[in-house]
Amino acid sequence: MTTSFVSYTTLLIGLFFWTWGTFPILNREHSIFYKLHTLTVSDSVGSLLIILGLLIRVPQYWPLLFVAAVSLALWNTISSYILGNISDRRL
């Protein structure tokens, strides 16, 4: 009962980060760099929190969730660096 409550709370916090980080990309006034920052909030932090919630719920499947978390962090960081580099060069 307690673990399920903690897991749902973590999932909802991650969902809040997703929502907050995804809404600024509809705004045309922000620059691409600010959008990359908020996409980092939603895609790295929120998704890692959601995976943490799943890990609390099903701890026996930790290997695949761990691989998913590591690949998520690595790919998101590298691709946001590359996109920042491209837009910085065209500035």
């Binding site: 749902y8 969902l15 509809l26 691709s79 590359i82 837009s87």
Partner: protein, 93 residues
């Protein structure tokens, strides 16, 4: 010989979480249709792919069906790697 797969029924809050995630993941589609630059489009598309893969992962874990969650993790890894290669190509041009 015949094995039946046990599938849990979803509770109310699980439906709410999955539909909220689906609604949030529709925002990048609108953003792609409104933007003109290629780099922004790549960023939004990779965000959309991320979100869909996590929806598959979460729904698979909620159903207690491990195969679906496994496919979600595969889509997460491979889709992000594909987006990375696309942005590398964009950097080269």
């Amino acid at each position: 010989m015949t094995e039946t797969i046990k599938v849990d029924h979803l509770e109310g809050i699980q439906y709410i979480i999955i539909y909220l995630m689906l609604l949030v993941s529709l925002i990048p589609v609108i953003a792609i249709s409104r933007s003109k630059e290629t780099t922004e489009r790549i960023a939004y598309a990779s965000s959309f792919g991320n979100k869909l893969a996590l929806i598959i992962l979460v729904s698979g874990v909620f159903r207690g069906d491990w195969m679906i969650a496994c496919i979600g993790a595969f889509i997460l890894i491979v889709g992000d790697a594909g987006m990375l290669i696309l942005s590398l190509l964009e950097m080269r041009i």
